[in-house]
Amino acid sequence: MTVVSGEPRSGLEPGENPLVEGLERLPVHPTALVIFGATGDLAHRKLLPALYNLAHEGALPERFELIGVARREQEHEDFREVCRESIDLYSRRKPDPDVLAGLVSDVRYVAGTFDDDAVYAELGRCLAEFDERAGRPLNRVFYLSTAPQFFPLIARKLGAAGLDRREHAATRLVVEKPFGYDLASARELNSELLEVLAEDQIFRIDHYLGKETVQNLLALRFANALFEPVWNRNFIDNVQITAAEDIGIGGRAGYYEGAGALRDLVQNHMLQLLALLTMEPPSSFEANRLRDEKLKVLESIVPPSPEAVDEVAVRAQYAAGVSGGKPAPGYLEEPGVAPDSHTETYVALRLAVSNWRWAGVPFYLRTGKRLARKLTEIAVTLKPVPHLAFQSTGSVGVQPNQIILTVQPDEGVSVSLGAKIPGPRMRIRPVNMEFHYGTSFMSESPEAYERLILDAMRGDATLFTRNDEIEALWGIIDPILTGWQAENDAPLPQYPAGSAGPEEASRLLGEGRGWRRL
């Protein structure tokens, strides 16, 4: 008989649970989750369905309690009905009636404004009741799914009500994006939260980091000897990171007018992709080791001076055009958008990572709404081979290799190679070697929020953004915002809805380079 590792235990190490070895699903301490903004869109579409899916899979803690907090006056039972409806509508799997009933049967709802002390008193009573019922203090996770101006207020009120700490249990605060609207406000928000809570209690969400394919970037880089030797300035010519959307702003004018493409996507998601793509290998995937490496590389990105912003950044707005075969309005014609709005719906940047590995390699980032198609990808273009022994006559010739990491809609990796065209002549053209996640894994990827909620309950901050990291991200963006602010008299360049973006973006690339086709 073969006995593969997992040697029988002869005794127990202090503090070590011998029963967890080999389990795919690690235990989560009994937890009470409080969602502030529980009647909002995020809770409705993402958080409540994610909780159901965790319950369905048996991944929630053995004791799990849920409390919703929002302004709307309603009874517990009304909120339970809201939970059922959200889960029915948005769960990625059809709910099992028994699991759903078990999940919502004792959900509590606390009505009131976030500045009302009575809300926190009632919250404290509910939480104490849950502790009493469990016979032990439950961990507490406060999820702030509210408008950002309420983040410091709620943290202060939690502190004032004594809900920021609990003996023999952990208290954590999950903060949704946007985390600040510039460097100063992000610093202020960090400072306000850190007055009440310790950094290891704060979990700043960027849901992009919860996506399997984004995490797989780390696996691709650090689990394959194939890529790392060429992952530097000696072999890589340039990198393009694209996050294109084919839709407009929909009904989000209220939010989008104050944000714009730079804050909405670049400051968080795209710079996170850039950090994961360019960071040095961490010594382990422990939260702070990984975040230390991301911070180092983010700090190596030299922000432009506000006066030089035009050299490295292009912004634009979509004009009326045709999208998906249908006429689409321009941004300024969207309901809720100011007629003289200077909010950008498109941004392209050229960034440089000033360190030994990446010196001289341009990183091009672009994102926009109402573009030709929905696509998120990273395209790494290698330098051309030093000598060509082949004729290019009669073919497109030898092209530099590209490694394309697609995040959506079709998750995968492709590598372009030069291959001989069949026939008597030695003619070369690029071909693709493709890998699609769907063909190689049987598992369905969990929703990013499922992973992140579970990690927050477990206290694993690896996929959350640390305070210094968030400030480093804003430090790159801030001078661009300042530079644009100074130029807000001039109209923004326009691009037709349904197009690949403004022509002005081409000037960032320099001679001989073009944006990849969407």
Binding site: M1, L19, G58, V99
Partner: protein, 350 residues
């Protein structure tokens, strides 16, 4: 789901292989958004009379389909090979890729089993892991395919005597990684026991465990023994040999590392689903924890002194289809705790 199909009577493995290649080429030429899944080969050897039932079980595995399934149906008296190959695929979403699954059914005679490797070798995807499942025995097939199989799927609860099923699993471990459905039926129970003892105060109570009762459906003794074996191997208990399941509950004693004994009791229980019905662990000082199957998960009951608490632990039942799907998925993973648990279970089963 759409399907491209090829079939032939009195055919050869080479012809089946050629047909699969041609189906793939034609589909890819017609639709570049359809790509073949490349995860796992699953070879299933069944009695011809039960082919439909097994095919239905395989249909119910949910998303955990092998990328190429080769179903060998063995029929007394048959001397030739008849085969049907199909490629199933859904229409891809906008901008997406549709994943194609391939299924080959080969009707064969018992005489083919001795050289089954020569039939199977050409029709599997060579660079993928290969899993073998013989739910109706067919030892000759196992012997013939031993060299090409990476993972054996079995259900140690299939034998009349739990000891026989566990022994077979142990023997097969010598040549391949074993995925045991009886073990997978214990997964939620192991996860919940591990979670229950994870808080630091409870972790200390593990040392004080004095009694364990495992309740199981009659016929699911293998799962019960594997759960107890898991506790023994993880906690360093040395069980005595020879539990008897002939006449109602079985009782076994195990020696703990501190020299004290712990009682392990196995209690048959009325339930429809195969596997476990409940587990109770009792500690010195009067603390006990019971987990029992209940709608929507498990019902937990905790008693300590005069106080008693009861609550629901959420989780949907996977059903037998889900267990089989999980078995297929486990082909690509490695659980280091199964072998020591199996070893301890075998000692108890005698």
């Amino acid at each position: 789901m759409s399907e491209d199909v090829w079939s032939a009577s009195d055919t050869t493995p080479e012809a089946i292989d050629a047909a699969l290649r041609e189906l793939l080429r034609e589909r890819h030429a017609a639709d570049r958004t359809v790509a073949p899944a490349r995860v796992l080969n699953l070879i299933v050897v069944v009695d011809r009379a039960w082919k439909g039932e097994i095919a239905n079980r395989l249909e119910r595995v949910g998303r955990y389909h092998a990328s190429r399934t080769v179903l060998c149906a063995v029929e007394e008296g048959r001397v030739s090979l008849d085969a049907r190959a199909s490629m199933g695929y859904d229409a891809p979403g906008v901008g997406g890729v549709s994943v194609m699954r391939e299924q080959v059914e080969i009707d064969m005679g018992p005489e083919h089993l001795k050289a089954l490797d020569t039939i199977i070798d050409p029709v599997i995807v060579s660079e993928l892991s290969t899993m073998l499942w013989c739910p109706h025995g067919h030892r000759e097939a196992i012997v013939a395919l031993r060299g090409m199989v990476d993972v054996m799927l079995l259900d140690s609860g299939d034998e009349d005597l739990a000891a026989d099923g566990l022994r077979e699993a142990a023997e097969l471990q010598a040549s391949a990684y074993v995925v045991d459905l009886a073990w997978l039926r214990t997964t939620p129970w192991r996860e919940r026991l591990a979670a229950s003892f994870d808080p630091s105060d409870r972790l200390r109570a593990l040392d004080g465990l004095e009694a364990v009762e495992v309740r199981h459906r009659e016929g699911s003794e293998a799962s019960a023994l594997l759960l107890a074996g898991w506790l023994c191997s993880r906690l360093g208990w040395k069980p005595e040999m020879g539990a008897s399941f002939d006449d109602g509950p079985a009782l076994i004693s195990a020696a703990k590392p501190d020299g004290r004994d712990i009682q392990l009791r196995f209690e048959p229980s009325q339930q429809d689903a195969p596997g476990l019905a409940g587990v109770t662990v009792g500690c010195s000082g009067g603390f006990s924890l019971s987990l029992d199957r209940a709608p929507g998960g498990l019902r937990a009951r905790e008693a300590a002194g005069d106080s008693e608490r009861s609550w629901q632990i959420l989780g949907a039942s996977r059903g037998e289809g889900g267990i089989l799907g999980e078995g297929v998925r486990q082909a690509l993973l490695r659980d280091p705790t199964y072998a020591p648990s199996l070893h301890a279970a075998l000692e108890m089963a005698g």
